[in-house]
């Protein structure tokens, strides 16, 4: 752990720093591990509050129960639909906007008007109510499009990809043009293959955004059967709050090792499994993406 020739003070510092970082890291995880342990615990152990960081009376009843719940699957399907449609829509519109905007004002004459059009929206917005009224007047309430179209052009992502395109050498485009390639071909055959890291980052942003979004599902659906998974969970979480406050835990406890707490915990954890699956990719690209997006002249 220690390199040679270090002073005692330095050694103490390194050790203390190491321990402190470890404690902070563990502390970050405790709330999550606590609920995870409860999701695998028996009803009685939860009511008696015997669960801390490890399941007590380990069982999978809560998970089995959730997987047999119709509402859970309905909501999960809405989320899958919004991801399958929403992410490609986001990507298509992001790339279509980023490519022309990455050209200099000299090459793309009208660029400055378009950039004003985009920047204006980063500064001002109509707010919740006018947006809600527009979405509802267009008849999108209770359709999947209400979850996709209002956020179809993520301006932050456009900027990220635009900056990446700008970093590619101009000669690439010039030589391709001399060979008679159209702008579409240049974008599709040259720019996109060279921009994999930034495209991957933005795809992940969009994927996580759609997976995690819940407020739009809540306000743009009149029927709970149109709720995506996270909106459905929100209604459950609010329920936890009222259960915990009213405290009738014993009343809802059942003999089948399933109660409100472990049931909701199980749903929360099932909902984040897909995020864990893509977590290794996130780690790889997010750091890159973040540094790409920041400081750029």
């Amino acid at each position: 752990m220690f390199a040679k020739n270090l002073s005692t003070g330095r050694k103490i510092f390194i050790a203390a720093n190491f321990v402190l970082i470890m404690l902070i890291t563990i502390a970050c995880l405790i709330p999550i591990v606590n609920l995870l342990a409860r999701s695998f615990s028996g009803s009685q152990a939860i009511i008696e509050n015997r669960v801390t960081l490890w399941p007590v009376d380990f069982n999978l009843e809560a998970y089995r129960h959730v997987l047999n719940t119709g509402e859970f699957w309905t909501a999960a399907w809405v989320t899958v639909k919004r991801v399958l449609i929403g992410v490609p829509v986001n990507m298509l519109l992001t790339i279509l906007a980023a490519y022309p905007l990455s050209k200099s004002n000299r090459i793309f004459k009208a660029r400055k008007y378009y950039s004003f059009y985009f920047v204006f929206l980063m500064v001002f917005n109509g707010g919740l109510i006018p947006t809600y009224i527009i979405v509802s007047q267009l008849g999108l309430i209770d359709t999947i499009w209400a979850l996709i179209l209002p956020s179809a052009v993520p301006i932050f992502n456009v900027i990220l990809v635009m900056n990446f395109f700008r970093g590619l050498p101009e000669e690439l485009e010039e030589s391709a043009m001399l060979d008679g390639a159209s702008q579409w071909t240049i974008l599709w055959r040259i720019f996109l293959p060279l921009s994999k890291p930034s495209i991957a980052t933005v795809t992940l942003f969009s994927l996580i955004g759609h997976w995690n979004a819940w407020f739009d599902g809540l306000i743009y659906s009149n029927f709970t059967s149109n709720y995506p998974l996270q909106s459905y969970l929100q209604t459950l979480v609010v329920d936890i709050q009222s259960t915990l406050m009213s405290g009738d835990l014993d009343a809802i406890a059942s003999a089948m090792n399933v109660n409100d707490i472990n049931l909701k915990a199980a749903q929360i954890f099932i909902s984040i499994i897909p995020l864990f699956v893509i977590y290794p990719f996130m780690q790889k690209y997010f750091t890159e993406g973040l540094t790409l997006g920041s400081v750029k002249g």
Partner: protein, 306 residues
């Protein structure tokens, strides 16, 4: 060349057509929709038939008993979040930068930025359970049990139900969600500090602490300034999703923010015009602050947003 160039311009316009139309419908139309703040909007009548009332909604707004507390809460919570989300990641990045064991550093980062990727619904579900006060000390959440066990408190704290504690809970849990992610930015800046500066200062007899103070911190000052300046624009964003999940009527006094007020007025009470007026107020002030922050970022950090 000229015809080729004309064709190229046309393709650029064509590419932008779809994004521009979508933004027009879902972002620009709502901006025009702000007119309802100056109307007595009735959904049945629409934008064109509703009666004009001038500034009446804004007068009502000024007299609304919930408005001033919401504004104050928004500013306080947002300010402390901005400070916490700058200071903690900087300190944590400095600590991580001292680590020499690669795998440990990587593991720590992986774990600490996990909450960033979870939604406030998921984190809210976790926190409501973890911070629960319970009815008796026996069924309190783990946080209270730990504090009781260590003898730091005598009775469980109502982290989410006590109006004096709620803002702190909100701020700390926000830092919990974000600090791992924010650390990445500062850590990247730290690794870019020129190593020869450390060698030079060591020759001049500077110890570790002096190096941190005179080399490391000045090295990351530009990025600190940039992040600070860019956060000015979010002073009216106290975090709607988080508060919406965590708050309850018992903490409205200290926990209600502008965005939650807009939501309750508009979508719960159906007072569209009044709610839109609150939204306009927020939009205009936020917009001006964002513009100022972009200008400052350009001036002091050479950062161009677009």
């Amino acid at each position: 060349m000229n015809t080729i160039d004309k064709k190229r311009q046309r393709v650029f316009h064509l590419m932008l057509l779809l994004p521009v139309v979508v933004l027009f419908v879902f972002n620009y139309l709502p901006i025009f929709g702000i007119v309802i703040a100056f109307q007595d909007y009735q959904p049945g009548l629409g934008f064109f038939e509703s009666r004009w009332v001038g500034l009446d909604n804004f007068k009502t707004l000024a007299l609304l008993p919930d408005f001033m507390p919401a504004l104050r809460n928004t500013l306080l919570i947002a300010l402390f979040k901005i400070i916490g989300n700058l200071v903690i990641p900087i300190i944590f990045a400095l600590m991580l930068n001292e680590l020499r064991i690669k795998w440990f550093k990587k593991t720590v980062q992986t774990v600490t930025y996990l909450p960033y990727f979870l939604s406030w619904v998921v984190l809210g579900g976790i926190l409501l359970d973890f911070l629960s006060q319970g009815n008796t000390a026996g069924d309190a959440g783990l946080m209270n049990r730990a504090l009781l066990g260590m003898g730091l408190i005598d009775t469980p704290i109502s982290f989410l139900g006590d109006k004096n504690v709620f803002p702190a809970t909100v701020i700390i849990s926000d830092v919990w969600k974000n600090f791992g992610y924010n650390t990445i930015v500062f850590l990247a800046a730290l690794t870019n500090v020129n190593p020869s500066l450390y060698e030079a200062s060591a020759i001049d007899g500077a110890g570790r602490w002096k190096q941190t103070w005179h080399v490391t911190l000045p090295g990351i000052t530009p990025i600190i300034i940039l992040m600070t300046v860019l956060s000015i624009g979010s002073i009216l964003n106290a975090g709607f999703e988080q508060i919406f999940v965590l708050y309850s009527p018992s903490v409205y006094e200290t926990g209600d923010i502008i965005d939650t007020l807009v939501y309750r007025l508009g979508l719960v009470d159906s007072q569209f015009s009044l709610s839109a007026a609150v939204g306009v107020f927020k939009s205009i002030i936020s917009g001006i602050l964002i513009l100022i922050s972009y200008k400052l970022a350009d001036k002091y950090a050479g950062y161009r947003v677009f």
